[in-house]
């Protein structure tokens, strides 16, 4: 489906919503029929349609996994670690031996959650045969040396020191499953909802688990309804068919502000929007050309125009406002004069390059046009090239010299390890390879003192800010829309504990 059609459909729905100032007669549909069942609408496009939490990569998979299972820890809004199944933990002075104490919790079949279950789950995730997106989080675990000290006490041994290891326990696709589980057609977890029914392409229905360790959920049943089209999700919400619509566009969010029946929950700056310039090849191998682009783009204008002001201006760093984000840095301002100067020195005046883009993110294509215009002011000729949306993020691993990229909120440490370290397997779209950065990051992870570790992490980020080739121009807002009769939901960034978490929800 082309962006053009998507946009025009959305704006049309906006117009319909806006024009009709008629009084609402009533709301209809099956959602309001039984107030005990919460109906949520998610896009499922490309889903493998399995309830195996360890292979989940889409938001709908993660939301279903969160309802059915638990992780050892979770992320607060700033991506700092908060306890869940793990009650407490401590590292030895080397940072290679972690003792974790589990809280008393039960799986849906009544059996207790034990240290063996955690070991089984982590081993399964680290196994290449599982093909888990979280695999890299656990490849440092020495499973031969790790063991269950008792039913609720676990010792995890690492091949190298990592004082930020608990971050891995809260990552998506690291849920704890009962030891020995291989079949997830009717999964048993320890989460707030039990499995009732699911078949591919159809809704998943879950029921409250009364023995949940965090207290039983406020609703009896939870249903995940697959609706791929954004305007259909919004229409289903407005007509009362569902109570929660995941991933609502900035356009719809604006229209919905006028509706009393729904609330828009906006996680401000939830997603990083950036340009990835490959620094291992011309022209951006020359730091002067890279610097010229950093100085040549107008971040304020990009946020104002492309994000329609619904976002935060970037400062060439990931993780605005998150734990370990260097806050007190002056913003990077546009300086076309100096940018032109640098290009002259580098002999790169009038340089031409292609900017890879796709419909994988609604902001990529509008940003391309504006960026090309801004960079033409400093004498660069930029031509956008559209790639296939489905395989875009895999294609830009190697292709081209410049590409749009985006990343939803995740802990800064995870980002640095996964996107900027030399040994990262994929996702380092700029091909940044710096022994200095790697050494700083390793040193930080091996530092026990949190303040000292924070300083080293900040240092590593500042180094990467200038050299990594990642030009972060902004952070787009993340919207979901919910029925105004729901209580207990608030705006939360993707991947955080309170994002798509439905056990605290009630009906007003």
């Amino acid at each position: 489906m082309t962006t053009h059609r998507g946009l025009s459909r959305r704006s049309l729905l906006a117009a319909v919503g806006g024009l009709a100032a008629l009084p609402m007669l009533s709301s209809c549909g099956s959602a309001t029929g039984s107030t005990a069942r919460l109906r949520t609408a998610f896009p499922v496009s490309g889903a493998r349609e399995s309830l195996d939490p360890h292979t989940s990569s889409l938001f709908v998979d993660q939301a279903r996994a969160k309802a059915l299972f638990d992780t050892l820890v979770a992320y607060a809004d700033d991506m700092s670690v908060v306890p869940r199944l793990a009650e407490s933990w401590e590292a030895d002075p080397t940072g290679t031996r972690w003792r974790v104490r589990l809280r008393t919790a039960r799986f849906h079949d009544g059996s207790p959650v034990t240290a063996e279950d955690v070991l089984y789950s982590y081993r399964r995730i680290a196994d290449p045969a599982t093909a888990s997106p979280a695999r890299w989080q656990f490849t440092d675990i020495d499973f031969a040396a790790s063991r269950a000290r008792s039913e609720r006490e676990l010792e995890l041994v690492l091949h190298r020191p990592n004082f930020e290891f608990p971050v891995a326990w809260g990552a998506p696709a690291t849920e704890i499953v009962p030891a020995g589980t291989t079949d997830f057609s009717a999964p048993v977890g320890s989460g707030p909802f039990r499995f009732v029914s699911f078949s591919p392409g159809a809704p998943a229905v879950l029921r409250r688990f009364d023995d949940y360790w965090d207290g039983p959920a406020g609703i009896e049943e939870l249903e995940f309804v697959p609706i791929n089209d954004e305007s259909a999700r919004v229409a289903a919400l407005l007509s009362g068919q569902v109570h929660y619509a995941h991933d609502v566009s900035a356009n719809s969010a604006q229209t919905l502000q006028r509706e009393s029946r729904v609330r828009v929950l906006t996680a401000e700056g939830g997603t990083m929007q950036a340009l990835a310039l490959k620094v291992d090849r011309p022209p951006f191998r020359d730091p002067r050309v890279l610097r010229a682009v950093q100085l040549g783009i107008d971040r304020e204008q990009l946020v104002e125009v492309v994000l329609a002001g619904q976002g935060v201006v970037g400062n060439d760093l990931f993780g605005n406002g998150l734990e370990h984000y260097p806050r007190d840095l002056p913003p990077r301002r546009r300086d076309p004069e100096q940018a032109r100067d640098l290009l002259r020195q580098a002999g790169a005046e009038g340089l031409f390059f292609e900017l890879l883009t796709s419909a994988a993110d609604p902001y990529f294509e509008p940003a391309s046009g504006l960026l090309a215009q801004q960079l033409s002011d400093i004498g660069l000729r930029v031509s956008p090239r559209v790639l296939s949306a489905e395989t875009y993020f895999s294609d830009i691993n190697d292709a081209g010299v410049a590409a749009h990229t985006r990343t939803a909120a995740l802990p800064v440490v995870s980002f640095l390890r996964q996107r900027l370290r030399s040994d990262t397997a994929s996702g380092n779209y700029t091909h940044y390879r710096s022994a200095e950065f790697d050494a700083l990051l390793d040193k930080a992870l091996a530092t026990a003192d949190p303040q000292q570790r924070g300083r080293l992490l900040a240092e590593a980020q500042l180094l990467a800010r200038d050299r990594s080739g990642l030009v972060v121009w902004g952070f787009s807002d993340w919207n979901v829309a919910v029925s105004s009769e729901l209580t207990g939901l608030r705006a939360a960034p993707p991947n955080s504990l309170d994002w798509a978490r439905f056990d605290g929800v009630g009906f007003a």
């Binding site: 493998r48 997106p133 609706i227 305007s231 229409a235 289903a236 007509s239 569902v242």
Partner: protein, 316 residues
């Protein structure tokens, strides 16, 4: 049509289906990326990709995979979906039930309306009503489906709250548990198709009504209703049959926009999803389904047309 003509026609149909299958296979294989990339997402490393490719058989040469598919097909086996591991027939069957239901409901509305308006406008060619009806049909035809769909959703579902906006999780036969969800998509589909069909009927009726044989039977003193029912209508409907075949074909394969708009998981969106996931066996399954549907419908239309042509029958 003689038996020999029918055999030739069926043979040509089989060739058409085979060509379509090969073309789709090659075109899908030419798309960048493969199922392993789609399944594992943006952060897969090469090791994981290689493992999954080996598991899915994506390493085999293209001609080998095509050969496997064809030999499977000859055994009546369409293979399994790379994405979900479920049999292709099962995957397509799910969407097909939704689509058949939607198409069937649409035809129930479309056929009487299109034929009634077509016949009326044909017989009362110069009346004001015919002119108004014609203009209305043209207008409906000019409105894109997604515009009409959004307007109806906005007014009827969101504002008035009279009908559900989307299927919201219902699919296949479960749609019958809440038939109200069918109303809006059926209206949108019927509104788009009614113009083409009614116009063909109208043209056919005008032609047949003014044909020599119609005048002839009138001169023989047959009453006007008998003339119209027995002699004008069969000839008048004939040109509409091919159009009807195309309409049914479109309803069974190409209503992607309406499916997306009303969240109906039919074969149109199933096909789009399969292409997006580079799920070659599934894409092939859909292509085969669409090709067979088109060919069979046009065959049936040809046979029916031949049956309805009085002149041709008489000449034999």
């Amino acid at each position: 049509m003689t038996a020999r003509a029918v055999v030739l026609r069926v043979g040509a149909a089989l060739v058409q289906v085979a060509v379509a299958a090969i073309a789709v296979f090659v075109l899908t294989a030419l798309l960048p990326g493969d199922t392993a990339v789609v399944v594992l997402g943006e952060h897969a490393d090469q090791q994981q990709l290689a493992a999954l490719r080996a598991q899915l058989g994506l390493d085999d040469p293209l001609e080998q995979r095509f050969l496997n598919w064809v030999t499977g097909l000859l055994r009546g086996d369409l293979g399994v979906s790379l994405l979900t591991g479920a049999p292709v027939a099962e995957e397509i069957g799910r969407g097909l039930a939704t689509t058949v239901l939607l198409a069937g409901a649409t035809l129930l509305v479309l056929l009487p309306v299109a034929f009634a308006t077509g016949v009326y406008c044909g017989l009362r060619e110069d009346s004001r009503v015919a002119w108004a009806v014609n203009s209305l049909l043209l207008l409906l035809n000019a409105i894109p489906e997604f515009v009409l769909g959004l307007l109806l959703i906005g007014a009827v579902s969101v504002r008035a709250g009279w009908l559900p906006a989307t299927a919201a999780g219902l699919s296949g036969w479960s749609l019958l548990s809440e038939p109200a969800v069918l109303v809006l998509p059926v209206l949108v589909l019927a509104a788009k198709q009614v113009c083409g069909l009614a116009r063909q009927v109208r043209i056919g009726v005008i032609e047949a009504n003014s044909a020599e044989y119609a005048d002839h039977v009138r001169l023989l003193g047959l009453s006007e209703p008998v003339v119209v029912l027995r002699h004008v209508l069969p000839g008048g409907i004939r040109p509409a049959l091919q159009q009807l075949a195309r309409t049914v074909d479109g309803l069974l394969g190409g209503v992607v926009v309406v499916e997306a708009l009303f969240a109906f998981p039919g074969v149109g969106s199933g096909f789009v999803e399969a292409v997006k996931a580079r799920d070659l066996p599934l894409v092939q399954g859909y292509a085969l389904l669409f090709a067979v549907t088109t060919v069979v419908l046009s065959l049936v239309a040809d046979l029916l047309t031949a049956r309805l042509v009085p002149q041709a029958e008489a000449a034999r």
